[in-house]
């Protein structure tokens, strides 16, 4: 095993950690779906089922000081980044112990401690923000990497093109990670884009770009290592298209009229956890007791998170207008300009 930064560490310990993180996201979100049906979680809930290999492959490659911009399908990103599961769950409940004080909900997980610059619920809206974080770093010289996640639906937005151009033009350290799950809500890529090979669009802006199998966590991690190292060393943007698949509905309100069940079932057979776990088993890198231990640990963490959210508190209505503006003193609470 070499220590090169652009190569994945194929140690058993590392492999188990990749698997553990993917299962952790999956089980957390399975719980969220259950809690949604119980009306504990409301609003929109966008699940990452099938796409876990992207966040798990990319985010651990980043350093703690690096910054992340995510989308409204960002539970997995927050968890892998190290936002505590209990504060994520409390946020889903809308409790003030949540990672955004309950103000944001599922689509707006923020965490300053881990440089997690939010779930953004405007498709494409996070890209200019990531460019700005990159611009600040360009001017401040901290040598950070800004990782910006977005779906292929964002590629149709003007902000995608404006942002890629700005990042390339100004030489900004932004890693653009396109999570191409082939459906923008219910609109398939092929009926919304004249050029469906997304990574070529980035090339047209002079950005180094590659496409990777986003259902293969090892392949994603290998690509992410190349990408992060390139951004860190060259101070230029890099584009990673991760081809993946959303196995569940777009949100909990989606009856999925736009695709065949057979298509989903076929993709389910090749989903990243099944695939990686099978590979590990075939190579004798995982034992049945590893899996049961991992699952037990995750289930305990989830149970603790749910208990934390359940016992969390509602922000008093008197504080409704807080944090619309910065508060210079406590007397500002509740004042509306």
């Amino acid at each position: 095993m070499t220590a090169r930064a652009d190569k994945p560490h194929l140690s058993r310990e590392h492999m188990l950690e990749l698997l553990r993180q993917m299962i952790r996201i999956r089980r957390f979100e399975d719980k969220c779906a259950e809690l949604y049906t119980q009306e504990k979680i409301r609003g929109f809930l966008h699940l990452y089922d099938g796409e876990e290999a992207v966040a798990v492959g990319v985010i651990p490659v980043l350093e703690k000081r690096d910054r992340i911009v995510a989308t409204y399908r960002e539970h997995g990103h927050a968890l892998v980044r190290g936002v505590p599961m209990k504060t994520v769950m409390a946020e889903m409940y809308g409790k003030q112990e949540g990672c955004s004080r309950g103000r944001g909900g599922s689509m707006h997980l923020f965490d300053a401690a881990t440089n997690f610059y939010g779930g953004n619920a405007i498709v494409g809206g996070g890209l200019p923000l990531a460019v700005g974080l990159g611009l600040a770093d360009h001017m401040q010289g901290h040598n950070l990497v800004i990782a910006c996640f977005f779906g292929e639906g964002a590629v149709a937005e003007g902000e995608f093109h404006e942002s890629l151009n700005l990042a390339a033009l100004w030489g900004l350290p932004v890693l653009f990670v396109c999570e191409n799950n082939f459906y923008a809500m219910g609109t398939a890529l092929a009926i919304s884009e004249s050029e469906t090979d997304i990574h070529r669009k980035a090339e047209s802006y002079g950005v180094v770009s590659e496409a990777v199998d986003g259902m293969d966590v090892v392949a994603v991690e290998a690509a992410a290592r190349r990408a992060v190292q390139a951004v860190r060393e060259n101070r230029k943007p890099y584009f990673l298209e991760c081809r993946t698949y959303r196995l569940r509905a777009h949100s909990m309100f989606d009856p999925q009229l736009y695709r065949d069940k057979a298509e989903v079932e076929a993709r389910r057979k090749n989903e990243p956890i099944v695939r990686f776990q099978g590979w590990l088993q075939a190579n004798q890198m995982i034992h049945p007791e590893d899996l049961s231990r991992i699952e037990a640990e995750i289930d305990a963490e989830i149970a603790e998170a749910v208990a934390f959210a359940e016992t969390g508190t509602w922000e008093p209505v008197e504080q409704l207008t807080r944090f619309t503006y910065a508060e210079s003193d406590a007397s500002a609470i509740g004042k509306m300009p």
Binding site: S100, F110, G125, L129, G132, A136
Partner: protein, 335 residues
């Protein structure tokens, strides 16, 4: 148009020069400050406001952008969240609509939806207003729209002092501040104190004291309103002229103190009447000072039409001194 106030140690300059001084001063005082926008560098600014600053501060800090309003406004938001103090110039309010997503959905919401973990200390400047025969797509006055949005502050400097002084104070604000500069003011000359510096950005100002009626306005309409007040004075009517200065937050106390004294109010606003800032100010007067009023509140706003190209029609579409005089006299029962 000239400034009325003349002080002892003053320098004659244009509003444009006052804005430029403010930019230069901010760039010198804080290395985190930079100016970013279309044609701010090599071209010198669409209205020549930043002319000469590129040579002084270089292309990193006087940053020309492509025509990507949403992209570079969002970049300003991100840079502000990461510790910089960007000034984004959107050229004109007309083009700001292309950045409205970033302003409303990101800049205005981040502090709240992040539970106060992140703020956006960003200043966005733009020109606003009609009067240059630029027709329907280049003559909007949409500052009232922006004043609708919680999470941002909205300023309308009408005087040289405010053009010079509001920027630095806005840059010290931890939240996004939008500054609207009326296009008809850039060439206005006046005297500015040699030591002019930062001013407050949350108080309205009484620009002319009077006992008979309150004329409440802001921005480019201030000077038309003062002209109207002079005409009214010739008829023995002493109008008090309030310059709102800040459109969000509104300084209710100054407005109500004036209306409480004069018992009559006319609001002058270059925005369209329906759903206008004038509507908001008028309703606040009704809510807070109804029993002080001796007459219905009057409004002079733009006509409900896209701003036309011919001069006579453009002039008729936006507030002018004779209309303000007529509205004031109507409120006084002297129409």
């Amino acid at each position: 148009m000239t400034q009325a106030a003349v002080q002892t140690d003053t320098i004659e300059m244009t509003y444009r020069e006052a804005v430029k001084q403010a930019l230069r001063d901010a760039m010198k005082r804080d290395e985190r400050v930079f100016l970013m926008g279309e044609d701010v560098g090599r071209y010198g600014g669409c209205y020549a406001v930043s002319h000469g600053l590129l040579a002084e501060f270089g292309p990193e800090r006087i940053r020309d952008t492509p025509l990507s309003e949403s992209g570079f406004t969002g970049a300003g938001i991100g840079a502000a969240m990461a510790g910089m103090r960007p000034i984004v110039e959107l050229m004109t309010v007309n083009f700001s609509l292309l950045a409205l997503d970033q302003i409303l959905n990101t800049a205005a919401t981040v502090r709240h939806m992040s539970g106060n973990q992140f703020g956006v200390p960003l200043v966005i400047r733009m020109a606003t207003g009609a009067g240059r025969q630029l027709a329907a797509q280049h003559s909007h006055s949409l500052e009232g729209w922006y004043a609708h949005i919680p999470g941002i502050k909205v300023l309308a400097p009408a005087t040289l002092e405010d053009a010079r002084g509001m920027l630095w104070t806005a840059l010290q604000d931890p939240d996004p501040v939008l500054i609207f500069e009326n296009v008809m003011l850039y060439n206005m000359t006046g005297k500015l104190a040699a030591d002019a510096g930062p001013v407050d950005i949350d108080k309205a100002a009484v620009r002319r004291a009077g006992r008979d009626i309150s004329l409440i306005t802001y921005g480019g309409s201030l000077w038309k309103t003062l002209e109207a007040a002079s005409a009214l004075a010739a008829d023995g009517i002493e109008a008090e002229v309030i310059d709102l200065r800040s459109l969000r937050p509104l300084d209710d106390a100054t407005i109500m103190a004036s209306v409480g004294k004069t018992r009559r109010a006319v609001i002058v606003d270059e925005g369209w009447r329906s759903g206008s800032l004038a509507a908001e100010v008028g309703m606040r007067v009704v809510e807070q000072a109804f029993w002080s009023l001796d007459a219905p509140i009057g409004r002079v706003c733009s006509e409900e039409v896209p701003i036309p190209y011919p001069r006579h029609l453009e002039n008729a579409a936006i507030p002018q001194a004779p209309k303000i005089v007529a509205a004031a006299k109507a409120a006084l029962g002297r129409a």
